[in-house]
Amino acid sequence: MKSLLTGLFIASSVTFAAGAASADDTTANLRLQAFGGDAQLTAVKHAIERFNQKYPNVKVEVAIDPISNGWGDYVTHVLSQFNGGNAYDVYGTAIETFRTFEERGLFVPLDDYIAKSPGYSDFDPSLFKYSSYQGKTYFIPIGWNNIMINYNRELFKEAGLDYPKNWTWDEFREAAKKLTKRDAAGNVTQYGYEVPNQNFFVQPWFLTNGTSPLNADWTASNMLDPKVAETLQFLHDLIHVDKVSPIPGNSTMDNQFDAGQVAMISRGHWIIENAKKAKLDMDVANVPSKLNGNTVIGFGGYGVSKTSKNQELAKELVGALTSEETQKEEGELGGGVPGRKSAADSPAFLAFPPSAALYYQSLPHTIPVPSPANFQDVEKIFMRNYVAMMADEISIAEGVKRTDRELNESFKRLEALQKAK
């Protein structure tokens, strides 16, 4: 089982040998665990080539994880590597996992390296704020993603709708109704919206209603807030009253969006890569607001593992991986919005979708995805009950109570652990 999982996780493992000759003659092997798709792998490869120009005798081995089962599974994967004494030197990971890793002291602080390397001021300060724990920075941010409404412009035109700008929940709901098509027998042939089936995508609905499933400092459940139930009811009604969305299933509907079978989906910048390939006439819009227009943000970062024998070299590698060139390339290839503002101002990044500038414009209105140290547990608990509520298996009232109880039990266990430590 374990070997099967490892096999699935490590989609590809490539070794890069030294290239050009100059500078440093240090000889070492570094192992890098990155995440993402082809675009990220390409950008990472190029970053390593640049790193190798300075350190021609350092061999960097790369593994890349597509994160197809969410960050909880990635945490499991990384922890098992540390437990097995087989940790990589450098890890790419995301905010969802930061607390879990920091709590366990698996990464080294990078403050010294950041201080002596000019150029990190180009990053939005909020990104560094969330990659820090107890005053120390353990991860250097890379690309980020905030959830926006991605919509099919052609289907909007067909339905006689104006492109959305700043809209409300009700306006969104009306649009979704108009964008849903049924055949003569009443069966849906085109959905207006996909009610999200992942924790990250669904967060803006809570945030725009001024609430969240967890409390502000991520230490307890906030499920009993009536606004949480109100939000869930709204999503539930999109599925069961308006019938503009299917029940969230196991797989995301990205392909159906690219095929024009779903008019709107809540996603981040990573879908642009495929939308371009599918020649989809799409754009992004701000999430519909109720009490505010806040949306959720998640971002990736690189850290150096405590068990690395070449920590200084590993930091240099992180430097190459977070450089402006790498960021620009990642932004242009798709997969995330570059953490460096300069990289997101490039014409290639702004070329598509038409409102690409909205990504940075909405940054001040973003709140990070709740990422407590028991994230992988919290995500499972929330999603299991959320799907049950959306599938009408349990009532919203019962569902929020059950989620609340389970979340608080999980936080109690976490607290007991922290005390034991």
Binding site: G72, D73, T76, L79, S80, F82, N83, E103, R104, G105, L106, A185, N187, V188, Y191, P246, I247, G249, N250, S251, Q256, Q261, N374, Q376, D377, K380, R384, N385, V387, A388, A391, D392, E393, I394, E406, S410, R413, A416, L417, A420, K421
Partner: protein, 301 residues
Amino acid sequence: MRAAVMRQASDLQRAQALSGYLFLLPSFALYLAFVLAPVVVTCILSFAYFDPMLGSRWVGLDNYIRFFTDDRSQQIFWNTLRFTIFAVTGNICVGMLFALALDRKMPAIFLYLFRLAFFLPVIIAAAFVSIVWSYFYGDDLGVINYYVIRLGLSPVHWLTSSRYAMMSIVIMDVWKNAGFFMIIFIAALQGVPKTLIEAAVMDGASYWRRFFRIVLPWISPVVFFAIVYASIGALQVFESVVILTRGGPGDATRSMSIYIVESAFDSFEIGYAASIAVVMTIVILAITIVQFLASRAWVRH
């Protein structure tokens, strides 16, 4: 002289015994390292809170108390039993029907073709089968619902409603595994003495009468083996559920083995997961014992 012979024999015996043990050693060492040791460690862990990085402590029976008082684990426990009952019944019955259908004179080419066709799903990994079936079962774009809608019926929520999700998984499981039991039953059916059947035919016994009075009792040990084997497999159902429903909606299709993995590697509650594993082992053991006891009444050796 006699004593010398004795001593010689004893040396030989000892040498033989030694080489015997040496031959045993590799398999015993592997058994010790990969079967016995994990079992013992699991039992010990089930009384602890274990975290390799944040520290561990003994918690006595807490893990077991939690399992038996938590309503989630109750539901998951019954899910597993429910799946086992339906899947075993389905696999054995369908496998037997296929075997009976193929246990007759027909051109060899058809015989091999049908056997191959029914057996083929068995050799495909459950993971691939599940992925393909998830396309069949899709709510709106699924193959099955396409025909359901064509027939003028409203689409069925195969995987997104707790009313059908478990049955959908059972159907897939039977489709995949019935061929295995078919092969076993065909072999058993061919061992039934022709003379007995011919005598019964002469006496004018009908097909089903012959089946229930002669064939089934004759192959009952094989059927018994098949039931035990199918039950143990069904109690451990994992990948098909994970891929089709991830245990959902809610906990509607979550099985104990999924719960073990999730507790151990998502919640990092190794101790709690170990206690579930111990409970599951005891349940499998108990069910097998019950089957053995019941078999005395109907299995004829």
